[in-house]
Symmetry: C2
Subunit: 189 residues, 2 copies
């Protein structure tokens, strides 16, 4: 998506450790008009996939998931992050390792909101190592729902999480796929 790539080139900031900051338009400040177009693009990509529900994880995934949900007229469910090990029995849960924060956390969704009739599109703002998406895929699996695929705003291709998922036959669409980056230079695949 050219408009997103242009915006990353104009405002994205690269820091050591593979960090790409896009806080001025994608999180934590969100350009609503750009988000509207991101939602439309995700709708276009998954038009024929029969998606019945979108699943994301709080907090920075919620905006893009809602944008896609509004365009596609399907409900959005967000998994909650939970550092506690006490998981109630009436939830689906998966553990996710955050490389950014170097800690393990749980993501949970009430069983009420996912079931075997759902055809799920996973949506998130970033895809790096793929840990968050793998956690969401685990929730979809626990619910016996069908996974239609994944859509992310920005994929960091050099961290290969997306490549691993694609190699397993999972459809992964990135609106901007960063092949390499260093301060002052961002190259898209």
């Amino acid at each position: 998506m050219k408009k997103l790539e242009d915006r990353i080139l104009a405002e994205g900031k690269v820091y050591d450790g593979g960090i790409l900051k896009v806080g001025s338009f994608l999180n934590q400040q969100i350009d609503s008009d750009l988000m509207l177009e991101i939602g439309e693009e995700i709708k276009r990509l998954y038009l024929d996939a029969g998606v019945t529900k979108i699943l994301t994880v709080e907090a920075s995934g919620i905006a893009i998931a809602l944008a896609a949900g509004m365009s596609m007229h399907v409900p959005v469910v967000f998994a909650k992050k939970n550092e506690s090990l006490n998981i109630q029995s009436s939830v689906y849960s998966a553990s996710v390792f955050s490389y950014t924060h170097q800690k393990l956390y749980n993501i949970v969704v009430s069983e009420e909101y996912l079931n075997e009739n759902d055809r799920i599109l996973l949506v998130d703002d970033f895809l790096a190592n793929g840990e968050a998406l793998r956690g969401l895929i685990e929730l979809v699996s626990q619910a016996n729902a069908t996974l239609c695929g994944c859509a992310v705003a920005v994929e960091k291709g050099f961290q290969h999480g997306g490549d691993g998922l694609r190699a397993e036959g999972i459809r992964v669409e990135a609106l901007a796929l960063v092949e390499s980056m260093k301060p002052g230079e961002i190259i898209f695949r």
Copy 2:
């Protein structure tokens, strides 16, 4: 907003301790079409207020704030919650007491995203004691920005946070204002 009230009557669940669960359509599962209408209603209410930016707090405020931002074509900023006492110098921060979780946390926004030229509309999903909105008002004040008012999806009128803000001359609009509730009975003001 009649459609929201009807939905609360149909699906809202009242628990002891003044808890109203609306997780099936407002959080953590979000009805995208309802959210679109909520955004339009907030736009209608604040059409002439000259709003340039919407401010909310993660995580459950993000969806409704984005819906309003998309309708009004203004950016959305969300404050992050932070349990740490180590606040960087380049952020606005305020402490908020959560009655639900019985603990104090910080909300922070980078100074980059709020300034004295901004005319801010505060948006959140729930208004109870008003602690979260008061924290956001503190951030607006630190940025020397102008506060246009607040819009919330559901106000729990019996907890009087909204009444306190209105008594101070702050505009507070609730799309559904619950006057009283008990299991099986919800009455709107």
